[in-house]
């Protein structure tokens, strides 16, 4: 009886030590594969980033749900998930200049950039799908912008290369404008426009500006220091300005205040 029990203990201890040793070896081998999988995932994300620099709008349709392998790493199966990502503007101080009459929660409503970034998730599987490594990166369009322009609508007839018009605005009347930005003829989404009035021999004010900054309402009136509304007949320019990749573009429309 003692001999059987002693044998049982001996066999169990041997098997456990062999199992522990084998497990550590397997983990060791898996570490090497995991590091290689990380290199593969990095390369796959760089491939997506390169494509996004070339054709940002087509990135999702090309890579979402795609499965592929890289040369020299055929046992590592890559699958990608590309989804749009919303980026909220980070500073609420900047939001307070856009009050609304009946604001929804949260107040002020935050500005969201929906077209600027894609969330790319790459999964690399090996050992016949038993092991997996996932890597996530936000991909933006870093193509260098050239021929950056802002277009204002309605524009009227050209006065000089950046000014057009002239629009008559009746006393206390309003006029709506919208703006778009283009790089090499392709519209730039999520850009922030600034609207302001440059007086010539008359004056008015930007009465309303949409939350995305794309539209504004000019009013033939302005608010004085004491809070009273006044108007100043004559000419002034409504200016829209945007900055993209450090390049500034401006467009003006001339207003004739009645």
């Amino acid at each position: 009886m003692e001999a059987v029990f002693a044998s049982f203990l001996l066999i169990t201890s041997i098997l456990i030590s062999v199992y522990v040793f084998d497990s550590s070896l397997r983990a060791e081998a898996n570490n090497e594969q995991r590091i290689t999988a990380a290199i593969v995932a990095e390369s796959a994300l760089e491939e997506i980033r390169s494509f996004a620099n070339k054709n940002f709008p087509g990135t999702r349709s090309t890579y979402h749900g795609r499965n592929w392998t890289l040369p020299h790493y055929s046992v590592y199966q890559i699958s990608a998930k590309v989804e749009p990502m919303e980026l909220p503007l980070p500073c609420t101080e900047l939001e307070t200049q856009y009050p609304e009459v009946d604001p929804p929660f949260p107040t002020p409503e935050r500005r969201v950039l929906a077209e600027s970034v894609l969330k790319c998730e790459v999964a690399v599987r090996w050992s016949r799908g038993r092991d997996e490594l996932r890597m996530v990166r936000y991909v933006a369009n870093f193509t260098r912008a050239s021929n950056f322009q802002v277009v204002i609508n309605p524009s009227g007839t050209e006065i000089d290369p950046i000014t057009s018009g002239t629009f008559d605005v009746a006393p206390w009347g309003t006029k709506d404008f919208s703006a778009k930005a283009y790089v090499n003829g392709v519209e730039v989404d999520d850009i922030q426009f600034s609207w302001y009035v440059e007086p010539l021999n008359g004056f008015g004010s930007i009465y309303r500006e949409s939350r995305d900054g794309k539209t504004c309402r000019y009013r033939n009136a302005y608010r004085n220091y004491d809070g009273t509304y006044k108007r100043s007949a004559g000419l002034c320019d409504v200016v829209v300005r945007a900055v993209y990749q450090g390049t500034e573009a401006k467009r003006k429309v001339r207003i004739k205040n009645g």
Binding site: S7, I14, L15, S17, V18, I35, I39, E42, S43, S50
Partner: protein, 175 residues
């Protein structure tokens, strides 16, 4: 007549033989595994060096202002690029000798990766002509390729030791 009861029964003999074989088997298996662990540790050491070189290549290509080799649509046995000298502080880069331009040629360094005498080397040369060569790892092949119409550089190299040869590949998007 009394029987001689010294020695082991057949069952005892078989069981003890079974135990001896079990222990010897486990010992052989363990020793073989120990050999593999040693080999794996060596592979891991080599791989960590390779990963370090890849990270260096990626950082240089990612920060490149201009890639002179490989040119677009071709392959080359050398990676050459111009980048900002990471050793210079922003104060040093905006000195008044070059009109406060932080990307001037004096602020740049030319970096090259190439294979020489079985070693992958990284050479950096500043505009003042100061040259430094780092010996990175032993490789048997080194090639960089840039597809036409794409800003993607694929760097491939092969490492080998007495046991195996492995090809490594890295893709980097130029920004």
């Amino acid at each position: 007549m009394a029987r001689d009861r010294k020695g082991f029964t057949l069952i005892e003999g078989i069981f003890s033989m079974f135990l001896i074989f079990l222990v010897l088997g486990a010992l052989t298996y363990t020793l073989r595994q120990a050999g593999q662990v040693k080999s794996n540790l060596k592979n891991m050491g080599e791989l960590s060096e390779i990963v370090q070189v890849m990270a260096m290549l990626k950082a240089d290509l990612g920060a490149a202002l201009k890639v002179t080799s490989p040119s677009e649509g071709s392959g080359s046995d050398r990676v050459s690029l111009d980048r900002i000298d990471s050793g210079l502080s922003i104060q040093a880069r905006i000195n008044d000798f070059d009109d406060f331009e932080p990307f001037d040629s004096i602020d740049q360094v030319q970096v090259s990766y190439f294979l020489e005498a079985g070693l992958l080397k990284r050479q950096s040369r500043t505009s003042l002509g100061v040259r430094a060569v780092e010996r990175l790892i032993q490789v048997t092949e080194f090639e960089a390729r840039r597809e036409s119409g794409e800003d993607l550089v694929t760097v491939t190299f092969e490492t080998s030791n007495s046991r195996r040869s492995v090809r490594h590949s890295l893709k980097v998007a130029l920004r």
